[in-house]
């Protein structure tokens, strides 16, 4: 048994547990007769369980990336369909945290990317934004300069440091107020996945800035 099998099988078990936790919390929160848990606490638990889940996926993908086992499957995707699923998957936790999560894009917009990998990047970015947003998280997508740009913004206090910041072109790590180490790993993951998307002329990148549409931090994925 090699390590990637061990990792995969452990992750399988952990995800089963996380699934049970998440769904039980869902029931608890939805049940008006629940007097055990304070709904706010239950929501926070749910939020952390979902973060643990996206971290696990990130971990497995990073491991594979390091071992050149990660397969990229780039296909043409309808971006509206794609974002609607990402939002659906994260909606419950955001609702529970009293955050509005919405997306905006042209229904006919299409792009070329690996839906599963990009979804895992967006999941962990949204997970991060949940920590900083005051009331809103907004996803959007557009065609700009021959790239598909997908944005995740919040109305929190924004990124600190020199902005805008392109990744991976810079050696200066971006800092997000709370937990720099965790943010850095997330950004490393995001920019590695972005770079796997390339055409002969262009390569995918990540950009951080503040105050795009909302007042807070704005994470951008530029995909060729």
């Amino acid at each position: 048994m090699d390590f990637s099998d061990i990792l995969a099988s452990s992750i399988h078990d952990i995800k089963n547990s996380l699934g049970l936790i998440l769904n039980s919390l869902d029931d608890l929160i939805a049940n008006p007769e629940n007097h055990i848990a304070n709904p706010r606490q239950a929501s926070l638990l749910q939020h952390e369980a979902q973060r643990a889940n996206s971290n696990l996926i990130q971990l497995l993908n990073l491991y594979k990336l390091g071992n050149e086992q990660l397969v990229v499957q780039i296909a043409e995707q309808n971006v509206d369909d794609f974002l609607s699923e990402v939002v659906a998957d994260n909606q419950a936790v955001c609702n529970a945290l009293n955050l509005s999560l919405t997306y905006a894009c042209d229904p006919s917009l299409t792009g070329y990317f690996d839906a599963e990998l990009i979804q895992s990047v967006l999941d962990s970015t949204i997970g991060n934004a949940r920590r900083y947003a005051h009331t809103r998280i907004l996803l959007s997508a557009d065609n700009e300069a021959g790239y598909l740009v997908i944005r995740v913004e919040d109305d929190g206090s924004g990124f600190s440091g020199k902005l805008p910041l392109w990744l991976p072109d810079t050696s200066e790590p971006a800092q997000n107020a709370g937990n720099p180490a965790r943010t850095r790993l997330g950004l490393y993951f995001a920019s590695s996945i972005a770079q796997l998307h390339k055409t002969p002329e262009r390569t995918g990148r990540v950009r951080l800035k503040n105050s795009h549409i909302l007042s807070g931090g704005c994470f951008e994925l530029w995909l060729p």
């Binding site: 992750i11 996926i57 497995l60 086992q69 397969v71 296909a75 609607s84 998957d89 599963e116």
Partner: protein, 537 residues
Amino acid sequence: MTDDFSKKHYLIIDDFTDMRAVIRSILRSLGVNHIDQARDGNDAISQMNHKRYDVVLCDYNLGSGKDGQQVLEEARHRELIGVDCIFIMVTAENTREMVMGAVEYAPDNYLAKPFTKDLLKSRLDKLFERKAHLSDVNKALMAKDYGAAIQELDTLLADSPKNLSDLLKLKTEICLMANRHDDAMAIYEQVLAVRDITWARFGMGKVLYAKKRHAQAQDIFRQLIELNPNLIAAYDWLSKTQVAQQQFNEAEQTLHAAAKHSPRGLKRQQLLGDLALGNGHAEAAEAAFGHAVTLAKHSILNTPALFAGLAKSKASNNKPVEALKVLGEIDKTFPDKPEAILYKATATATIKQQQGDTAGALDALRSAEQTMTQFGEASHFKLDLEMAKTYALLGQQDKATELLQKAIANNHDDDEFLMEVVRTCREAKLEYDAETAIREIQQGVVKTNNMGVQLIRQGEYDAAIKLLHDAAEEMPGNKTINLNAAKANIMKMEKLGATHADILNVRRYVERVQALAPQDWRLNDVISRLRKLAPKV
């Protein structure tokens, strides 16, 4: 739309009671009323055998026994679920390995665990919408009427839909089934002109292969592997092009590399074992057949040929005791199957001959011959080939040659099979010039066909029918000849009116082809024309 949830029948397959309960409560909250549950693969298969489900949610990991992929394989193979059923594979790891593993039957969708109620709803909504959108295409596909399926798709494509790229891809897949290579090629070129997309590049390789432009196809598959070393299906196709060019050692190496990336492919391991054994690499063959036997344990695709291959490899590696033990497993695994008895007998003959026990080998060969008589004209060509190999090994060149001759005539236009004949002769060191024989037999069959067509054109129906009928009796396993004989009868009836005797003849030809290749793209045309002449078919 709510009917999709309230009226439809759902099956949940998971080995964990708690997980089943969770999924069940999610479905209930979406308004689903009809939910059944299965705790393992066998339970699932038996429930699908008794009831038609609209949606199946199956966990990939089902503990010991069948895994989710094997459940799907068996359900599709035995037609327990149709194209109108939505099969969703639930997985914990991400799904790309499974997708890249180049499986024969793909689920409609993968769902990563854990999933929320909102995600499942949004996913199901989309899948229902897609099935509804494609319902006419799927109806045509179920009737194996590929021409109609393509027409329906063209209608959908004309509206420039949201999922244009998916539809184009689906169209090329149907074009390939329907042997419309040029139509598929045009789409690949159109897609590739905008951007280098893997499925289109891949499809181009498949078309080039079908057009026997093997070297060009090989280049494409090599490029794909270079760009993406984990694209397993590209290895499978690269090895096909290598076999077609008689590069058997290279083909073995290619499959070996693929099996290293993705060891769970049963057919790949079997092919690898076959190639390795033929190339004289008994150790590699033993490893591959060993994997195959283990993988096939709970699979509908299990076959005695795997055990025979493993036994022969073990014998070649000087492990005769283990080899005979493997053969003993055949009876237990496939009780009373003539195919199993045959493989056991031929493998026994091979092993005994290698050990110098000529009398024992001849005994086993006689039992194989007896079993062969049970198959009648319907013997599968793989069995003929297995018999021919055994005859050759035991020094009975004439009988081997006669069988090969028959096998070639029955499959004159199946290039992959013909290459297996060539490989068999080389492997068995048979003094038989298979390539020349193939050329001559092909010329004969083509000539008969052309004469038949010409006679029909001249209105000489009876002469055409007699000519093609005689040929079909001589080569009952030849699909092309049987179909052309059927067509000659049909055209006569279309012109001069149906007769009972002609209808019976056509049915006989059609049944032969159906038994050999139920998916043959030419069948639908013949069957629907026959239906017009004899509505009761």
